[in-house]
């Protein structure tokens, strides 16, 4: 089984979000970048298939050279090879077009990725990819087994879980549950050394368009100060929630 894992290069979850002075771009100053957490669950599951079922794992990212450390980290965790599509990931439509081209050139059986990135939160690349490639798709996946051509998956639904069956090839977009937090791997020294020797191929972008454009960003409005209520005066809290906030 050949697995293609799509990886976004995103600001660490603890990052303070700032924008350039004209508010048109994210300010990367002092920001640490990581593998998108949802993609990391997908990658870790892919590596499980590699270790237990002999799958090969290719990671792919659309980005400029600054995303290479993130791809190297994926290699250090255990991916076999990496592909960087040399382009700015302008919108989800554009990114999905680029990755679809990699899939067409690589005879993959499975695309495994996170359900969304934690920066732009578009949540569309996996679904668009499946559509462009005319293959099936499961979103919000929280459990995945593959035997031969048969896929058994669970996905999160509002207030519960749905069990699904399907066949390869397929796009699976996942989240925690694909693997657990404790299963995530921290690259060790041997992994890091080996990652240097693994292939990281840079491919040019194909001609494509975008369908959306960000004009500017706005930070969340400053919050008014928190109203403090004395722990011995809970009637006051109930009064505020009932009469001021009108939520109970």
């Amino acid at each position: 089984m050949k697995i293609l894992v799509c990886i976004s290069h995103v600001p660490d979850t603890t990052s303070k979000i700032n924008f350039t002075s004209d508010s048109t771009e994210f300010d990367t100053n002092g920001v640490q970048f990581v593998i998108n957490p949802y993609d990391e669950f997908a990658l870790t599951r892919a590596i499980w298939f590699q270790e237990k079922q002999g799958a090969t794992v290719t990671v792919v990212n659309v980005g400029d050279a600054t995303t290479e450390p993130t791809l190297r980290k994926a290699l250090a965790i255990g991916a076999d090879e990496a592909i960087r599509i040399d382009a700015k990931p302008t919108d989800g439509f554009y990114v999905a077009q680029q990755i679809a081209e990699v899939y067409r050139n690589g005879e993959y059986d499975l695309i495994l990725t996170g359900k969304e990135s934690i920066d732009y939160n578009g949540g569309m690349v996996p679904g668009l990819l499946a559509s462009f490639l005319d293959i099936d798709y499961i979103n919000a996946c929280i459990g995945l087994e593959i035997e031969g051509n048969t896929v058994s998956a669970s996905r999160e639904i509002d207030g519960g879980t749905e069990k699904l069956s399907a066949t390869l090839p397929i796009v699976i977009a996942g989240q925690k549950g694909l693997v657990e937090e404790k299963d995530l791997k921290i690259p060790n020294m041997r992994g890091i050394m080996m990652a240097r020797k693994k292939p990281l191929t840079v491919v040019p972008a194909i001609e494509s368009t975008t369908t959306t454009q960000i004009t500017n960003f706005e930070k969340n409005a400053e919050k008014s100060a928190c109203k403090m209520v004395d722990a011995n005066n809970l009637d006051e809290l109930i009064n505020l929630l009932h009469n001021e906030a009108k939520v109970i």
Binding site: T13, T14, I17, F19, F26, P37, G92, F93, K115, I118, D119, Y120, N121, G122, G123, M124, V125, G127, L128, A130, F132, Y137, N139, R155, E156, I157, D158, G159, G160, T161, E162, K163, L164, S165, A166, Q175, K176, G177, T210, T211, T212, Q213, I214, F217, E218, K219, N220, C226, K227, M228, V229, A231, L234, L237, I238, L240, L241, H242, A245, I248
Partner: protein, 319 residues
Amino acid sequence: MSVLVYADNSEGKFKKSALEVVSYGKALANQLDTDLTVITINATEPEQLQKYGANKILFVKDDSFVFNAKIYAGIITEAAFTSNTNIIIIDSSNNGKYLAPLLAAKFNAGYVSNVVSAPSSLAPFTVERKVFSNKAFSNTVISADSKVIGLAKNAFEVKEEPTTAEIEEFSPVLLSTSVKSESVEKASGKIAIADADIVVSGGRGLKGPENFKMIEELADVLGAATACSKPVSDMGWRPHGEHVGQTGKPVAANLYIAIAISGAIQHLAGVNASKTKVVINTDPEAPFFKAADYGIVGDAFEVVPQLIEKLKAFKAENA
């Protein structure tokens, strides 16, 4: 040309998020000076949508259906072509988020998710959406002629605007797919975080899983869903499905009560779309106090049982 809304339902009933998208669709149709068409699949009473301004209601009735994203996307796209629309609105439920990109690709549309308001401009077509996991907003132009808008939960108010709609049964062509539903498991008797108006959430400060009884009890009194912070689910005190925060479930409730949760930036990102936030924590320096509307510095083990009693009395009085 009309605006098309897909109104999802749960066991035949429209949820609040479905009414929110219908209200949003109506506002947009008014803005564009056009009609609103709504498509719904296996709703028990599709005519209810007249109350929220639908001019035309297309309903699909086939009891053999279970939700399937590809098939549903095909049905909605066909409805879009028949109703000559170029804008489709969809909610942000798990089903909505699953469907929307498939729909956008089929419909050759530009898709934006997590939209929080009606367009600020029609030319270029510009909407505001949440980005960076609720830490910021962006104004985004959809330049494609066809558009799919995913509306964020609890971002647009349900508004009644009674109309008399044309109600028509719709018999679509069904696409084929290998993805089949085998079984559905719903937590019985519990309120889902995604559907809840009120969410009560507990953190590591509660010291152990046994102490979540009082969280459940408080949630019970308020008719709320229960949730927890990431460390709590990582330690296995509570199921993963209750983890709220940046990499857990997002919460966009009317009221979010955080008990013994310090308020790490990742947690706040996941819950700050909630309208009113209350924090109860022993540490007055806990970062959550900066993000909350109402705060109590106090020990959860003393405050929560008292709050439960007082709320019971309040509920009895106001019943």
